[in-house]
Amino acid sequence: MPHTAIADTPQLRVELRGVGKSFGGTPVLRDIDLVLEPGSVHALVGENGAGKSTLSKIISGLYTADRGQLVVDGEREHFTSPREALDRGIATIAQELALVPELTVAENVFLGREPRTAGWIDRKKLKREFLEVAARSGFDLDPDQVVGGMRTADQQKVEILRALARGASLIIMDEPTAALARHDAELLHDVVRQLAASGRTVLLISHFLGEVLALADTVTILRDGRHIRTAPAADETEATLIEGMLGRTLSSIFPDKPVVADDAPEVLRVSDLVAPGVNGVSLSVKAGEIVGLAGLVGAGRSEIAHAIYGSVPRASGIVAIDGANCPADIPRTLKKGIFLISESRKEQGLVLGRPIRDNVTLSNMGQIASGGWVRTGDERRASRGLLDRVTVAGDDRRDVSALSGGNQQKVLFGRALQKVRKLLIADEPTRGVDVGSRRAIYDLIVQQAEQGIGVLVISSDVEEVLGLAHRVLVVRGGRIVAELEGDAMTEENIITAAFADPITTGGAA
């Protein structure tokens, strides 16, 4: 049910009628009818590649529909750029934030439309107008703080304020919490509620079904570009959503944990590792064991991963694979059998302008080439085989940038499967991945462990860590502050250790 509106915000009723869209002849959206009621939170769920982002991009003017109509407040609209949509009151909070890190909060909010006096930016007026917008939204932000150092959740608030300052009444958020730690995600949830309470409409795309059910008034399910149904969130449960998205039921999100033999040898031993952001870490992983690294964003989990992988220089400490010392040099750590699936697929993982095929085979070209000469037949088969295992269908000669976010993540995972490794480090392996495919990735991780590969999983999703790992290490300030095993592996213990002040956890490794 829509929240009651506050008088001064313009209301916007956005409607899609029979909207269809194809890319290169392949339909990705078919005949979509949808109404976004003003003052409500409307969630959009569906598998990776279902067409959620495409749909939102049509509304926000980034793409044009091939057929059908976009109707805003009863008028047919033909946006040819995001700018035109913004002028009509439709704004998108992109997942990759578009702020200027060197500028302050207020400057970012009014970027490009600063109040001026005789050509000079009027700082007093800037601040006054900022406080006005901030007060109306209920956000508590320091206008003079420099954006660069702020946490992602606060930066998102700045983006939202920027949208509000430009008079946006429909705000589209495409997976806004995918990269947020739980605490920050909750902050963003409050923001979404405030926006709806102020009469604005929020179109929320998310793979976290709990979040969807808690926030949304209405949920729309897409599958393979088709509109499955739109229903009040109150009528849905996680199970009904999953069934609608996948077209089948999913008994459990997590696979059974593989058994680790008591006498399983140690594959990884790290002693007193010091590196940028890593302040003396010792840990070990046994063959077939899945170890979770939990902690807050910025606690140093990714830094530990990179120090082990050798992608940053190590100041001191030893990393040993099967007892043999492993120098900090990626080609050599790869040869020793360590593989890192890095956290940010766009910056650290994929070469976006290259074909899917090239991307998935990149880390082990030796397998598909003799003496530096690529055997294209083998390349094609290797790529197809890897993509099948990570369930990415379609022509692999397309650029990887044409894939949906979740499928890009799976391509990156596919690289890890090129050959049998000894240690697999997966940094946020399911970021932006839908429930069904998430299960596919969990299955892959478990399969790896069953083959005797040690796995180190980093995740901000506590449930994921608990559901996958045999043992959890909690990281804070570049150190391991707690080791949890068996019955001690609870959400509460992880969160306490991740937040706690040194006194309560001082004794831990």
């Binding site: 890319f23 290169g24 002849g25 392949t26 339909p27 990705v28 598998e47 990776n48 590649g49 980034l62 793409y63 044009t64 040819t80 750029s81 393979d224 570009g225 996948l246 992988y309 992608s311 990626i330 080609p331 790869l334 890192l340 890095s342 910056e347 650290q348 993982g349 994929l350 070469v351 976006l352 302008g353 290259r354 090239d358 990149l362 880390s363 070209m365 030796g366 080439a369 530096g372 000469w373 690529v374 294209t376 369930t391 990415v392 269908a393 379609g394 022509d395 499928n407 690289r415 069904g436 495919s437 596919a440």
Partner: protein
């Protein structure tokens, strides 16, 4: 589990335009949307100018004219193909012109000083090796020493031109230029196996080899990855610096080879820095007009070949049609802007 849209409808061939406004327009629009604009970009104007010149000037399509153009362009084609690898790997080489000049002078000086067949052989080998060494230096300072390749090779370009003058003092007899009009050396340019000049043959082979290296080898994949996303490439286990140095080394060697070949064609080295600068600019112009991205990560050797030949054809056309050569520079500048603008447009083209 099906993740992507299930229908694998092969892109339908463009339908014959139907009569009746809306349908025709839709079909046309669908066709235009499906054309991979970025990949055809250079082909269309290249063919257009080729056909236009063939019609406009009977002399153009003669075997002699085409042969001359190719012979004269062989050096620049070799350099541009190699410099394409540098650009794709995420670097840029502004010193190819200077290197070309330097290697020609080194080669010429050795031939003058040593003389005979030994001198010619030694000149050719040392000239090419000098290019390789310069390329390695370029590569090392722009990777391990972390100096931006634009600046690094710009600085190197001045250093190399200075060194060229230093060396040439030993090769000059009296005041004139270095002249190497000796048969022991000039066969390199004068031989015509199967009626095609040896420089054209060499260029042809080099282009094929570089094109195939980029297209079908592990190294080629690494070149694209290094330029497309250096950090991702590094984390995937590619030694990005080594790959980049290799591309610079290839470019240097190519400049050396071109310097030696052109010396054999001319057969003297004029004392003029502007020739080096113009060469560098023309190489870059050809690469860009062909459609290789200046940002790295995308491009191909065949594109550069078309780009360079397009420019050459244009100049040739100006001469044949007796248009004031004054306008050549202006025309080329406009073409570069159009090419780059088109590239930007096709990149951001709305879906």
């Amino acid at each position: 589990m099906s993740i992507e849209t299930p229908e694998k409808t092969a892109p339908a061939p463009p339908r014959a335009p139907r009569s009746g406004g809306a349908g025709e327009q839709d079909a046309l629009r669908a066709f235009l949307r499906r054309v991979p604009w970025r990949s055809v970009a250079i082909v269309v104007p290249f063919l257009a100018v080729f056909v236009a010149l063939s019609i406009g000037s009977p002399a153009f399509l003669s075997a002699q004219n085409i042969g001359n153009v190719l012979d004269r362009q062989s050096g620049i084609l070799i350099i541009a193909a190699a410099a394409t690898l540098v650009l794709i790997a995420g670097g840029i080489d502004l010193s190819v012109g200077a290197t070309y000049m330097f290697t020609a002078v080194v080669c010429g000086t050795i031939i003058v000083r040593v003389g005979g067949e030994t001198g010619a052989a030694l000149g050719i080998i040392v000239g090419i090796l000098a290019g390789l060494v310069i390329g390695l230096i370029n590569g090392i300072i722009s990777t391990y020493l972390k100096i931006n390749p634009l600046i690094a090779t710009l600085a190197m370009s001045f250093i190399i031109l200075g060194a060229t003058k230093l060396v040439s003092q030993f090769g000059k007899e009296g005041v004139g230029q270095i002249r190497v009009d000796v048969p022991e050396f000039r066969w390199l340019a004068l031989l015509k196996p199967l009626g095609v000049s040896l420089p054209t043959w060499i260029a042809f082979i080099v282009l094929i080899v570089l094109g195939v290296v980029l297209w079908r080898t592990t190294f080629g994949r690494y070149v694209y990855a290094a330029g497309g996303n250096a950090e991702a490439a590094r984390l995937a286990g590619i030694r990005v610096n080594v790959v980049r140095i290799a591309t610079f080394a290839i470019a240097g060697t190519a400049a050396g080879l071109a310097g030696v070949i052109d010396l054999a064609r001319t057969p003297s080295v004029p004392e003029n820095d502007a020739i080096a600068t113009t060469l560098t600019f023309t190489v870059l112009a050809g690469i860009v007009v062909g459609g290789t991205s200046i940002l790295g990560g995308a491009g191909a050797v065949w594109r550069t070949v078309l780009g360079i030949l397009f420019i050459a054809m244009l100049y040739n056309g100006f001469t044949l049609l007796r248009i004031d050569p004054l306008f050549q520079g202006i025309a080329l500048g406009v073409i570069i802007l159009v090419a780059v603008g088109f590239d930007a447009w096709s990149r951001t083209r709305r879906r």
